[in-house]
């Protein structure tokens, strides 16, 4: 089994459990390591197990197959996963990833275990199947359930059947006759009826709605907010955990004390996180802080924008940090202290990424039309920055603009990684037209940047090497790297580096030119930065925000980011709307 490394031990009962932190700490752990982590757990079902399984589900088929082979080759090692947690983990792994024969394999495995562990394993399986946690609606889940029903006792089967019986008609009648239901407007009543009819076989939906309508907090809401609360619940009414969280919010004093706008924002935020339990926990922890009520409505709104987004760049890491920061005692002893800590939390943004890393596929559907005109022209002694060498000159056309791209005819080192002409063309098609207009040529140098030696001497660190340079003359050079760089990295770097040239061409020197004033004011007014790197200077803030702009453009997260950085997005909108690039 692989070494899991320094994984922080977490207790399921601890209020400090933080799925995001666990996810981060396990991100680079291999399949064997994740299995070991599962084996080390002490009593599922647990949120930690869910995180590990989620990470396992992201592994490639090859990685999983390799792990399966390793387990098959060492059944003793597999069976040595002691305890019911290990039994559960192993069974779930097999059922989930080695389906459709997972259940049979699990049963075979169980039969090889000592009797007390067999029993424990079957108990866990019973619990899983009872809770329908096995891949709901999937073929595997059906297989698991079918097999499961064959091995439980008749009494257990009866219990399960009873639990799954649709609600009695009287339950629905009781709901529709309740005062809070009757107080809803006709359209909302009709919407609830439709949801109930669609989910007639699922008692959880009816009970979730009845639970919300019967809650104390709901009774206190005005008609408009009742409609919003119900709308929030109906985003995922079949999930009991979500239904419980909606009730918790509706019952919270913070919601009652908030302005109408913040109340709406709170409910919309929780609804947007309807399938993200750790995310909702952060929001509920936030409103649990008495200091939240001491903030102005604008501050509350900004915190909710910051913590409540579905974006992985800013909000998800902010929530993870918030949950780590907030403990059973809250973020401070007194409401005033808590309010100060919340203000500090958003001002410091310690959770921000070092540098924005665009997720895979970010720009795939966003780049402009481009064409690489072939054949390339051979240039005998092209003056690359590393020295003269034979090059192939390609004409890359993006939206009618032609850019010369010089590729090395022969790579300088077989060990190094180079971007292809297609990647470079795609990269050029990803940057804003205003930036592209400033690019005069691109060179993919066959060798490392000779200037690296000077920088290594000046900064006493030989471990940095150039990836890209961009001059005010519009010349971009891309250098070979030890590790292959993905298209997203190239696109992001091009947007960032040519962004420097763009801001300089429009606003001049950031230290002295007054044309930068609007951007500097926007940094203060927005209060949120795209990354830690962005905080270094207005130049870097512009380049990173421009990259963020293109990362989220056209995605559901664009609206969130516009709320987080409204002024800077407005300025970028204006810059990119200029008719003459």
């Amino acid at each position: 089994m692989g070494d899991v490394g320094p994984v922080r031990p977490l207790s399921p009962a601890s209020k400090k459990f933080d799925a995001e932190a666990l996810r981060e700490s396990l991100e680079d752990v291999d399949v064997q390591g994740l299995l070991q982590k599962l084996a080390g757990e002490q009593g599922p079902p647990r949120a930690e197990t869910q995180v590990v399984l989620e990470l396992l589900s992201k592994k490639s088929k090859d990685e999983l197959q390799a792990a399966k082979d390793a387990l098959a080759a060492d059944p003793a090692g597999f069976l040595n996963m002691q305890g019911p947690a290990a039994a559960d983990a192993a069974t779930r792994l097999l059922a989930k990833f080695v389906a459709p024969n997972g259940w049979a394999a699990a049963k075979r495995t169980a039969k090889q275990r000592p009797p007390e562990l067999q029993q424990a394993q079957l108990e866990q399986l019973a619990k899983r199947a009872g809770e329908k946690e096995f891949l709901p609606d999937s073929v595997e889940a059906k297989l698991v359930e079918k097999e499961y029903l064959q091995c439980i006792t008749p009494e257990e089967r009866q219990q399960l059947t009873t639990a799954r019986q649709p609600p009695a008609p009287s339950e629905r009648e009781a709901l529709e006759n309740s005062p809070n239901f009757k107080a809803l407007d006709a359209a909302t009543q009709q919407r609830v009826r439709e949801v109930l009819s669609r989910n007639a076989g699922n008692p959880r939906v009816l009970r979730a709605i009845a639970g919300l309508l019967g809650s104390e907090g709901f009774s206190r809401l005005d008609a408009a907010d009742r409609k919003k609360a119900l709308g929030t619940l109906l985003r995922n009414p079949a999930d009991p955990a979500f239904a419980r969280d909606v009730r918790a919010l509706v019952d919270s004093p913070a919601l009652a004390q908030a302005t109408p706008a913040v109340r709406t924002q709170l409910m919309e935020t929780l609804g947007a996180l309807s399938k993200d339990a750790p995310g909702r926990r952060a929001i509920l922890e936030l409103v649990r802080q008495a200091g939240f009520g001491k903030l102005s409505a604008a501050e509350q709104g900004r915190l909710l924008n910051y913590l409540g987004g579905t974006n992985p760049e800013i909000s998800a890491p902010a929530r993870a940090l918030f949950l780590r920061t907030v403990g059973p005692q809250g973020v401070g002893q007194s409401p005033e202290r808590q309010a100060a800590e919340l203000r500090k939390f958003i001002a410091e943004q310690s959770s921000a990424e070092e540098v924005l890393s665009p997720p895979r596929g970010t720009f795939t559907r966003k780049h402009a039309e481009y064409q690489v005109h072939r054949p390339p022209e051979e240039v005998k002694d092209y003056p690359f920055p590393s020295g003269k060498a034979a090059a192939l000159k390609y004409d890359v056309e993006v939206n009618g603009r032609h850019v010369a791209v010089y590729m090395p005819k022969t790579p300088g080192s077989p060990k190094d990684n180079y971007h292809s002409i297609e990647q470079v063309a795609k990269g050029l098609a990803s940057i804003p037209p205003q930036s592209l207009a400033l690019v005069t040529k691109v060179s993919v140098d066959p060798k490392r940047n000779p200037e690296d030696a000077h920088w290594a001497k000046e900064y006493h660190d030989p471990h940095f090497s150039s990836y890209m340079t961009c001059g005010a003359d519009g010349a971009v050079t891309i250098y070979p790297t030890d590790v292959a760089q993905k298209q997203e990295d190239l696109d992001g770097a091009l947007i960032h580096e040519t962004g420097h040239a763009l801001s300089m061409s429009r606003w001049g020197n950031s230290a002295t030119d007054k044309r930068w004033d609007a951007w500097k004011k926007a940094i203060i007014s927005d209060g949120i930065s795209a990354s830690k790197y962005a905080k270094n200077s207005p130049d870097e803030d512009f380049a990173e925000t421009l990259k963020m702009y293109f990362i989220v453009k056209g995605t559901p997260q664009e609206a969130e980011m516009r709320r987080l950085m409204p002024e800077r997005f407005r300025l970028i909108d204006a810059l990119l709307a200029e008719k003459k690039p």
Binding site: E451, H463, S465, Y467, M468, C470, G471, A472, G474, A475
Partner: protein, 77 residues
Amino acid sequence: MTRPAHPGTIVYVDGATQQEVRRLPVEEVPESMRFRATARGLVPVVKVVAIEDGNQRSLLEYGPDGEFLFSTLQRKR
């Protein structure tokens, strides 16, 4: 391209603090890094702002009027 006279020194600034960390006589800088090409010809580099964060470092070079001349994006090997 004709080379204008260089003022003689290049100031190195820590981007995080915006403080000057050292000042190098231009003779101690490789020739190719003393000037950068712009649309209006070669311009002397007089200031380098380094911003390092994690595995990434940006080196931004500026001319006598504070104009942006050149950026280098480095990554840790």
